[in-house]
């Protein structure tokens, strides 16, 4: 499915809807260039799960967990991960095959260890349509 986002709020709302309908064990792999809106989508997603804590970028910490919503949310940013095996170290399998929801920024970097049911969210800019335009594909 392809969505068109005209501004930050559109992306947030799309994330929110995905969050509202998320089920235990769901995994979202989020891709797109630097500053495209992956964390904005995740912030909406968290809100959709009923999480009120502001969502910070987990680029530095790799993983940020939120337990206060309808389902636990595991927010990863694997930009700095070179080798998928390194995910083992932070206990990825326990999160991926648990009762919560994983959302993984730059997830394609660890594509080979993502389970079959992973949903892929790709966010792209199209500068001809303005700096704030984003094409968001969910499959």
């Amino acid at each position: 499915m392809v969505f068109e986002s005209q501004n930050e709020n559109d992306t947030y709302q799309l994330g929110l809807q995905a969050g509202e309908s998320a089920e235990p064990g769901d995994i979202f792999c989020l891709d797109g260039d630097l500053g495209v809106g992956k964390t904005v989508f995740t912030a909406g997603f968290a809100k959709g799960l009923g999480i009120d804590t502001p969502i910070c970028s987990p680029t530095f910490t790799i993983l940020q967990t939120y337990e206060e919503g309808r389902l636990p949310l595991y927010h990863f940013d694997v930009y700095r991960i070179e080798d998928p095996d390194e995910m083992e170290e932070i206990g990825f399998d326990e999160y991926a095959f648990g009762e919560g929801v994983c959302i993984i920024e730059w997830g394609k970097q660890i594509a080979e260890i993502l389970p079959e049911h992973t949903k892929f969210v790709t966010i792209e800019k199209d500068l001809d349509k303005g700096f704030d335009y984003r094409k968001i594909t969910i499959e």
Binding site: L34, C56, R80, E86
Partner: protein, 340 residues
């Protein structure tokens, strides 16, 4: 005065570090093994490699800290260790080591909050500094404006809503092709650039005017780069320097504005900086100027105490120790540990 000698350990991210301090303020040794060179090859922190290196280095670092200090495990009084926040694999290495020492030598064990450690680096640099004071802790993973109420109690006044300050530096460096680590590279480029070449936003959060947001600046920088490219212009050094300088100016302005506001609202005349970003000389100078222009006193540790190190954990651990904090051998790493 009684002397309390503390062995402290820090391994929350890039650095494997150990130190020996006396009464929190006197540093007998401060050993840091940094993995930064290793990471430069990979272009970032590599968690698996990070923890493996921590395991390889930790014993050596502790041994050196003890011998540099002329101490042994039998002459120290307590062990302090960072137990969060940070990367879980990395934190666990330090915590396990500290527990083993505490157990084997029957020593008190004190878990320390990493950010409190950064704040307490100021106690080492300034023996006369006493709370209350304001402190801005800015690093790759944190941006916190805190009120230090007493030696162990902190109130968070503002924090980042999205990217941390150091993270923003890294991402801007990536966007203009300067490489990792971004902090020093952007500062250097900014030195030769015009801070008013571009007007980047100084974001304000309605709910809490003390909170920071750096994602909007990141976006504005990317837009500037894109429009430049769309005009068919080449990204040259002048452009890079101007972007770096204008970005840094927006960081400086947002920090200065909040610090001034907080000094007024909380009636504070002491302001300290801490964390890796505090090594940025341009930022230090700007904050010093604004604090002193209000008649306040400015504090900032030397760079070696700003980066992750264990002496600062010894300083924070000492005050926790005085306050009666003792952890059991069930102490665990808490990656998302809160400050309050």
């Amino acid at each position: 005065m009684e002397q309390t000698v503390i062995l402290s350990i820090e391994s929350s991210c890039d650095e494997t570090a150990a130190a020996v301090t006396v009464n929190g303020r006197q540093v007998l040794s401060n050993v840091i093994y940094s993995q930064i060179d290793l990471h430069t090859i990979y272009g970032g922190v590599v968690p698996e490699i990070a923890s493996r290196k921590h395991i390889e280095k930790i014993n050596q670092v502790i041994r050196k800290a003890l011998s540099d200090a002329g101490q042994t495990l039998d002459t120290i009084d307590a062990v302090a260790v960072t137990y969060g926040p940070g990367l879980v694999g990395a934190l666990l290495v330090g915590v396990a080591e500290a527990k083993a020492i505490a157990y084997a030598k029957h020593l008190p064990l004190i878990g320390v909050h990493h950010i409190k450690g950064h704040v307490c680096a100021n106690y080492i640099e300034y023996p006369e500094l006493e709370p209350p004071f304001l402190c801005l802790v800015a690093s790759g993973g944190h941006t916190h404006l805190v009120r230090v109420d007493d030696h162990t109690h902190y109130t968070v006044i503002g924090r980042t809503r999205d990217d941390a300050a150091g993270e923003a530096y890294d991402k801007i460096a990536r966007a203009i092709g300067l490489g990792y680590p971004g902090g020093p590279k952007v500062e250097k480029a900014a030195h030769d650039g015009n801070p008013h070449a571009f007007e980047f936003p100084r974001a304000k959060i309605d709910e809490n005017p003390y909170d920071f947001s750096f994602s909007g600046v990141k976006s504005a920088v990317l837009n500037t780069i894109n429009s430049y490219k769309m005009k068919g212009m080449e990204i040259d050094d002048k452009f890079r320097n101007d972007v770096a300088a204008s970005f840094q100016q927006s960081v400086i302005d947002s920090m200065c504005e909040r610090v001034v506001m907080a000094m007024d609202e909380f009636q504070m005349d002491k302001f300290a900086m801490a964390g890796g970003v505090a090594s940025n000389q341009t930022l230090r100078a700007a904050l010093k100027e604004v604090v002193e222009s209000k008649g306040g006193t400015f504090y900032c540790p030397k760079p070696i105490l700003c980066t992750d190190n264990a002496a600062m954990i010894g300083a924070a651990g000492y005050y926790e120790y005085l306050n009666g904090k003792r952890d059991g051998l069930d102490l665990n790493a808490v990656p998302g540990l809160k400050l309050e």
